[in-house]
Subunit: 338 residues, 2 copies
């Protein structure tokens, strides 16, 4: 018997899977885990599919400058959340996740169990009630890499693409802006996470909430299908920053997107005290921060915006993104930019 | 401009994607790459789905003791092949792949382009004519990790699970046994790959073919749906070794599998000279080697075996796997076994 906390190197693949699957709940599928593949219902004859990966030290740190240690729960939650969000952004509802874990042998089994709990919790809390983990893969590597592919059902609706925005449309957002970016700043700062946690002042609470937004984002999963039903002409989830992702709608649709400074200021205002304490600017977080996985959508002028959506700007002839008629001051995130 | 060969650190994500997608051919999907998710047809209202990962230094080495350097083409081919095989093993035909690449910044762009070519070539050469790469994800990491999720269509058939084998059934195999294991032995050996390549003796040719079987396996993709149509009661693809995978059918079906020594010897015989040269035993390769991704299936007694299947044994009351009535001498591969 090992004298240290058990690690994945202490278990064979079958034993490790036996620790994981009971935590994921009953699979909601025609065939769940255990065979060469799973089988998921596709009632309208179409399956929406996407894939997304989290890599240690690129997408998250196991240990942050603030002293915060990323839990397996955080990684499982974030993996599920960002994948479910891609289905939401098509106006679809998620039907399954398949998850591949690449883990160093030194990873504690408890951390992996926690990851499974985080996957299951995100699916439950975010309201993806028709979705479950139906399969996976386990392997060894030098760093933690977690990949999930997600399927979804359009339930007979047309998908909402990035390319359908038309001049005159209203641009609206559902979900939060800039909070995950603020959380990244907290985790990367010289603030001591343990001290924040032990002193429940209001200001500290805000910082802790921002950190939680980075580690366990809450994409507004019900809003995508509702936006589709309300006639959204274009939609995506904001994963790389508002300006960058608005630019994607503009480019795909062949239009210009103008964002309203007053609306942006309303999103930045509650973050300003925290940003000042960290030497940052809240508007930069709102314009450039990704990973909140809010929805950015365009609706025909005069549409009653569905619940949860807030007007953020307008679509015009032209190209690119402007804020109050000016070029925005921040770009977004690129995995490979220098 | 960089003075070295361009690496992924020299390109942003969009520019790297622009190098990859043209090599993958036109997507065969209702919606291909470029939006938050793709949309794949599921004509019979069901989608088969699986996920599988290749990790540098765990599933392949970039540089082997024999001097062979794994190409991007090899990795792309193997990624596609092993994923397509999981769909085949259900009796389904593949309909799409989504691929996530985690790459060190130092990876040459040409290597990534070669990986895209390998994905496309495997899909084409292995005959997955209804399948294409419909989406993906790119990110940075310390080592190469390639994950694909694959979808498939059962075309109205029932899936062939691992659990349906019944006493009296015939066990049969389609595809090759032991060749990828032999190839692993070649690559890991002190043979000099360049010398093998420059001396076209018959014996060297065999070693080169084994290495190719390891780097670019050829699962028999047409055979899965044919086996399903012929009434296969159980089926899986041999990815972790014949004995281990036969044991999975035995366990899932609650039966014993007896493998015929004479049939196994016929698979080992053509490999024996190569095995002897490398100080190995060909029967070990046949019994314990995975990664050829042949199909192991059970059929009711008296079934005319479909083309490409060869009788390998029988199903009995009991548990476990025997060879000529004895316990087999090798087990198979476990990613986490010590």
């Amino acid at each position: 018997m090992p004298t240290h906390a058990p690690t994945v190197a202490d278990l064979n693949e079958k034993a490790l899977l036996a620790r994981i699957f009971p935590r994921l709940g009953a699979p909601k599928a025609l065939l769940g885990p255990g065979d060469d593949a799973a089988i998921v219902a596709a009632p309208d004859g179409r399956t929406v599919i996407s894939i997304d990966t989290l890599v240690q030290d690129a997408d998250f740190r196991l240990s942050w400058p603030s002293g915060y240690r990323t839990s397996g729960f955080d990684v499982g939650w974030k993996c599920a959340a960002q994948n479910l969000s891609d289905i939401n952004a098509m106006g679809a509802v998620a039907t399954s996740l398949v998850v591949s874990l690449t883990l160093p042998g030194s990873t504690e089994v408890a951390w992996v169990e926690d990851l499974a709990d985080g996957l299951a919790a995100a699916i439950h809390v975010l309201g993806a009630s028709g979705c479950s983990v139906v399969g996976g893969d386990l392997g060894r590597g030098r760093e933690v890499v977690v990949t999930a592919a997600v399927t979804g059902s359009l339930e007979g609706r047309a998908p909402v693409l990035r390319s359908g925005a038309r001049p005159g449309d209203v641009v609206a957002v559902a979900g939060v802006l800039g909070r995950a970016a603020g959380g990244l700043a907290v985790l990367e700062s010289s603030e001591d996470y343990a001290s924040l946690h032990s002193d429940p002042s209001t200001e500290n609470q805000v910082l802790l909430e921002l950190a939680a937004a980075q580690c366990r984002p809450r994409p507004p999963l019900a809003r995508g299908p509702e936006a589709a039903a309300a006639g959204a002409t274009a939609m995506l989830d904001i994963s790389d920053g508002l300006v960058r992702d608005a630019g994607r709608i503009a480019a795909a649709s062949g239009v210009a997107v103008e964002l309203d400074p007053a609306a942006l200021a309303r999103h930045a205002e509650p973050l300003q005290a925290a940003a000042s304490r960290l030497g940052a600017d809240a508007l930069d977080w709102v314009l450039g921060g990704g990973e909140d996985h809010g929805l950015l959508a365009a609706f025909p002028a005069g549409t009653a915006l569905p619940e949860g959506f807030e007007r953020l700007g307008t679509v015009h002839d032209g190209a690119g993104v402007t804020v109050g008629g000016e070029a925005p001051r921040v770009a977004g995130w690129d995995h490979f930019a220098g």
